[in-house]
């Protein structure tokens, strides 16, 4: 059985983490996925 690990207490910060760059990259990836999906779907419809 797994040995109980020593509990590490995480220090909680009160201030918000800076996620502006993460938001930008998530949307960049999101728009790329939408573009790829829509392109393939319209290619399929065009060939029907």
């Amino acid at each position: 059985m797994a040995k109980p690990t020593t509990a590490v207490r995480q220090t909680k910060k009160d201030e918000e983490p800076a996620l502006k760059g993460t938001l930008a990259s998530v949307f960049l990836l999101g728009f790329f996925i939408i573009f790829a999906w829509v392109s393939v779907y319209f290619l399929f419809l065009h060939r029907l």
Binding site: E16, P17, L19, K20, T22, L23, V26, F27, G30, I33, I34, W37, Y41, F44, R47, L48
Partner: protein, 156 residues
Amino acid sequence: MHIHKYEKIWLAFGIGCLIVFLTVVGVSAFAAGQQPPSCLTTIDPEKVDSTPPFDHPGLVKKGDNEYELNIVVAAFSFTPNTIEIPKGAKVTINVTSKDVIHGFEIPGTNVNMMVEPGYVNSLTTTFDKPGEYTILCNEYCGAGHHMMTARIKVVE
């Protein structure tokens, strides 16, 4: 649980995209009838040559502008190898394999399905543009896989 404002934004965006994608696919599948190739019919792969319609493979006229194209697939050929189809014909393609898994793809069209021994795979398509089309095997099936092709001629 605390969620960052930005995390809420991209979670909502992701869930929204998922709903939109699934709705589009669902409507096109169940309302517009765009189904993947069916594989619900079974066949004895050792008796393909004596089982209709594969005992006489080829193009069969079924209606006014409707045809059935029955093709036997085996390593490393499609039978028949050259097919002439009148332009605008609505063709139901039935394929089955006598040995291993093969592929059936006509590049530039939506015709793309697996050919499995023991199953009859079907797909209905309309050939609107005249010209020559190539049928390819796109599942690696052995030493002659790269030679495995057939031709479709769509004529006026």
